[in-house]
Structure formats: structure tokens, C-alpha cells
Subunit: 215 residues, 2 copies
């Protein structure tokens, strides 16, 4: 591992390679991406992949780590919501959901991250383990605590955990099914305006679901 404060030419090549790889692996998959195309987009040569990452597979692993780090940074560390009132919890859930919609639908960075993650999920790749443990699990736990507080149920009950997945599912589908959604909605693109309208519908669903599950 290199000094993280070093910003030499080598680190720059590494960065460019990871950036190109994230994009191409996400778009075409591991096998369909050739080291030639990667080197070309990164503005370097084929041999540098082996030099910096050992192999094409090593570069892929580096991408997985980059994705995990990037998403962790955007979603932030999970916080402790003990002693949250039902109203506060519901409002917090809505805010977090709106942030998720905004990020997934409008952030340019989300494009490559989601494409990479989706492939990883379908292929049951090794990077999924890291991402699950360091990101998905703790975040889902945090949302479960809030959902439990909002509905008056046990945060780790089966119903609450499933309800949180259902909420997440609504959000991520608008990214995964984006081409289908755009076509059916007659939208040329999903920008901030469209994302806000999606978030409004989902927020209404969220409030209704909480109300319907409240004890």
C-alpha cells in the first residue's frame, strides 16, 4: 500500500484506471471488459494494470473497495436514534428516503456505482460481502430502529425488517428500472424535477405504511 498523502504520477495512473474500470466493469461486466479498452480510457498501457493491481481481477477488487468507500461516504455513518419519538422517527425516515431518491436518481456518481453494485449482486461477487457488512447491514439496522420507533414495534421484529426492505425496494427500483420508468412516464431524463415528484409519491407511501403498521 502506498502513502495516502502521496499524489505522484503513479497514484494518478491508479486513480484513472479505477475510474475507467468502474465505468466499464459496471457497463459491460468483468469478462466483456478488455484490459486494452481499460488502458485506452485511462490513457495508459496494458502492462500498467498488472504493475499497479497485479492483474485484471486485482483491478476489479480495487473497484469493489472504491465503491464501498464511496457509498459509505455519501450515506454517512449510521447514527444512534435511541429515544426518538414516533413523530421524529417518521420525519427522519422521510428525510433519509428523500436523500436516497435524490442521490440515486440525480447524482452522476450514482450511475457507475449502482451499475457496478447491481452486477456484483447478480454475480454474487466477493465485493458484496464487504459492502453488505460495512454498509447495507448497519444502514438497514439504523432504518429498522427508526421504523420501530415510528410504529411502536420492536426494531428487530421480522415485520419491521421486511417493511424497511420494502421501503428501500421502492427507491432503488426507480434507479434499476430507470429505462422502463422513463419510457412509461414519457420522460427524456430523470432530473431533479422528476426525482422530486418520485420522492413525493414515495413519501406519501411511507407515511401511509407507517400509519398502517402503527400499533
Amino acid at each position: 500500500m502506498r502513502e495516502s498523502l502521496d499524489h505522484g504520477a503513479a497514484d494518478d495512473t491508479r486513480r484513472r484506471l479505477v475510474s475507467a474500470a468502474l465505468k466499464q466493469f459496471g457497463r459491460h461486466g468483468f469478462t466483456a471488459t478488455s484490459t486494452r479498452a481499460l488502458a485506452a480510457e485511462a490513457g495508459t498501457n496494458i502492462a500498467s494494470i498488472a504493475y499497479h493491481f497485479g492483474s485484471k481481477a486485482g483491478l476489479y477488487r480495487a473497484c469493489g473497495e472504491h465503491v464501498a468507500a464511496a457509498i459509505t461516504e455519501t450515506v454517512g455513518a449510521p447514527r444512534d436514534h435511541a429515544g426518538c419519538s414516533p413523530a421524529e422517527a417518521a420525519e427522519l425516515l422521510e428525510r433519509m428516503m428523500r436523500a436516497m431518491v435524490g442521490f440515486l436518481c440525480t447524482s452522476p456518481a450514482a450511475d457507475t456505482l449502482v451499475a457496478f453494485l447491481l452486477r456484483e449482486m447478480a454475480e454474487q461477487g466477493a465485493a458484496l460481502d464487504t459492502i453488505y457488512g460495512s454498509l447495507i447491514e448497519p444502514k438497514h439496522r439504523e432504518l429498522s430502529v427508526l421504523w420501530g420507533a415510528a410504529t411502536g414495534r420492536d426494531a428487530e421484529s421480522e415485520a419491521v425488517r421486511l417493511a424497511v426492505f420494502a421501503m428501500i425496494g421502492q427507491v432503488v427500483y426507480f434507479r434499476i428500472g430507470r429505462p422502463v420508468v422513463q419510457r412509461r412516464m414519457g420522460w427524456d431524463d430523470i432530473g431533479p424535477a422528476e426525482a422530486a415528484r418520485i420522492a413525493d409519491i414515495l413519501a406519501r407511501n411511507l407515511r401511509a405504511a407507517i400509519k398502517g403498521q402503527r400499533l
Copy 2:
């Protein structure tokens, strides 16, 4: 095109090739699947792929058509729900949603179909056009009519179309995110029992969403 009533050895080879291809294309993607591996799993030789489908790409196209046909058969032709009462519409929506959950989560056939479709969606492949026009669009329209009837809103209003996507998103996420869901729920597998518990939560969400959006 061959006689559909003919069940000779050639048709059998075709069937075995499509079956193997559906599985491997879905699992590893187009490029990562070699014609050698396909021929091996289908119990035939490489040359037969070119003979029966023209090329590897031709076999892929045949898979796309097979998927579209298979899903169309399971979801059935969209029906006309004009003059449906709000209560009837809501009940019908719930029944259709439960059927979707059951099929997606427990049917062995869904495994390969969904994997293939998911890749097709991510890669923006050509088969998506066929599947969108012949399947997704009409089905989404049918659900929109029911949602409109259940909530008293215009079936083609933006809010209704988005709400239908949100409902679908909840369901498909439990299939797409299946490895994540299993892990968080501590389930070894998602069988009929687990699918029923998922459907119960989603049905409650559905009723709550309809109630919350009702005019």
C-alpha cells in the same frame, strides 16, 4: 421457422441449447458465456449453435424471445377492468401482487428469467424493446387502471403511474436483492413460507398506500 408440431431431434437440440443459454447468459452475461460451455451443457457440439441459430448472438436473441413468451404466459393477457368498484379494484390489485411475489420468489423458472431480464435491463439490450412493448407497458397500464379505480384518480395521471411503479418496485426488490434480504433476515432460502410473510407486509403497504392516496 420449423413446424411447431414437429418434435424431432433437431427441435430437441434447439430446446436444450436455449435452456442452457438462458441459464448461462443470465448467470455470467453474454460475453462471459462461451459457445463451448453452452454446447457442453446442452450435450451437443459448438457447430450446432451456428447451424441452428446462425451465431452465438442468434442464440441470445432466441433466448430473449423465449423469455418474453414465457413471462407473457405466466402473467397472462391484460384484462379490461372498466367499471370496477374501488373495493373490487383494491382486492384485485392485492391478488395480483400476491401472485407476483409468489412467482418471483418461489418459482424455479423465475430464477433464470429474472437473471436474464436483469442483465438485459442493465445492458440496455435489444430484447428489452420487445419485452417492454409486449409485456411491461400493457401490464403497467392494466395495473394503473386498477389503481385509478381503487383511489378514484385518473388511471393515466402521473401520481397513479408512479404509485404503480412503487408497488412493483417493492416486489421485484425482494428478488433482485434476494442475497441481501436472506442475509439480513437470517433465512437459508426464500420458500413459500417466507414469500407469504413478504406478501403479507406488501399487502398491508398496498392497502395503506391506496387509502392514503384515495380522493
